[in-house]
Symmetry: C2
Subunit: 255 residues, 2 copies
């Protein structure tokens, strides 16, 4: 028996999220189908965490156990030959038997893409939140600073969250202009862990700061209030990317 | 009667090209349907030129005549409310009655996107040519210089072309690295006009130079030979973008 770790990218547009559910059409279903196709055996994979319907990934990490003789580094190409074109395995490797894609996470990075063009960019229609009003990035950057560090993020997670401990550490929140037209605003959030909808609520709140509807300093107050109803709207799913997942020990290169 | 000019962007993935054809599913069909929907009258539009199946546009230009009372600058939003989400009108304006989207072109810019990542970027799967082997950009830049200027481009157009005069002027060929990962190579071609498949054949040939299969100086020889069979392969359509079209006089801003 061998434990295989995969780094997987996907365009979440046509899926009901990462995790298997009764309605089907999930990333997990497609990966498990492709593995079964290669090995002739049904298998259960474990991801670093869920992503919602419409959310994308550049570097989701999953693990599974197999007694297949496929060499670990060949799994990526083998799976890509079976997967639909909107899911691509970027890397595969063997890991120690005690590796766990969810429990062993030391940090995660999410990115959120905003399309600031006056008219929606047709190529980003399923990949960015289109906001034609000009956002004040300096205000947003100031506000983002107050999110960094160790805080109770109750105000910035879905009220449906049943996790008791809502203290997380955000190592960095970065806001950058990119793209051929300078119209792409990338928000990058790197942290120890994230609560349900946390990145989308932080993004929605930072956008309200950028529109002048809130002051940057309000973020500090919001963190203290621990009340979801006081923060901004949840940004739409299709601008969000699970960018990368970090682990303490890895047998292979980070890609 | 009023003449309306539109600047249109589209993701060509799901279309059989710009121009109406028996099989349907063309950009022209969709635009004409949307205009008819708004005005109740069938109308014929004229584009700056065709684009092939799978080819994209950021700034295709079309014109049409209408007696509709819709204000010229409102056509963009009105059409966008009727068009499928992979076609977006970026700008609309009234132009002089003698304006012609094809005959009045003074220059066109095409871009071609190459994905240089070791594994295909899932978000560029329909939008870039994935070439995992490292291209030598310096060699490609040197070769590109020899394409600039006024030349007979017979070697760089489809053998099917029935145009007699194959002399065109390329004002600029630029090659640039971009993208979050530095893995996007954008080739930009600005010229007086382009022959059938010309950008895709120039791109295919430059890629062969980048791979070391040809010397940069061969480009000069190829131009003199006027023989399509001597140039490189035609690059795939899905990396190509009609980026912008220029006209001598325009009543509105270039966007």
């Amino acid at each position: 028996m061998r434990k295989i770790k995969l780094i997987v990218s996907y365009d979440g547009t046509d899926y009901h999220g990462f995790q298997t559910q009764p309605g089907g059409a999930t990333i997990q279903d497609e990966l498990e189908k492709a593995i079964a196709h290669l090995t002739g055996k049904s298998v259960r994979i474990t991801g670093s965490g869920r992503t919602d319907a419409g959310v994308h990934a550049r570097g989701q990490v999953v693990h599974f156990d197999t007694d297949s003789s496929i060499p670990p580094e060949k799994w990526a190409a083998a799976l890509n030959s079976k997967l639909p074109e909107d899911i691509i395995v970027r890397h595969s490797e063997a890991v120690l038997p005690d590796f766990h894609a969810r429990y062993d996470v030391t940090a995660k990075t999410y990115k959120y893409l905003i399309d600031q063009g006056p008219v929606k960019n047709v190529f980003l229609r399923n990949r960015a939140w289109h906001i034609p009003q000009t956002l004040n990035l300096n205000r947003m950057k100031e506000a983002a600073q107050y999110l960094e560090g160790e805080h109770d993020f109750t105000s910035f997670c879905s009220a449906k969250t049943d996790v008791e401990d809502r203290v997380r550490t955000l190592y960095q929140v970065e806001i950058k202009e990119e793209g051929t037209d300078g119209n792409e605003i990338w928000l990058t959030f790197r942290g120890s862990g994230f609560l349900y909808n946390m990145v989308r609520i932080m993004t929605g709140t930072l956008v309200e700061v950028g529109m002048g509807q809130r002051g940057p300093l309000e973020i500090r107050q919001l963190l203290l209030e621990k009340d979801r109803t006081r923060a901004g709207k949840t940004a739409p799913p299709h601008g969000l990317y699970l960018w990368s997942v970090e682990y303490k020990k890895t047998t292979g290169p980070r890609v």
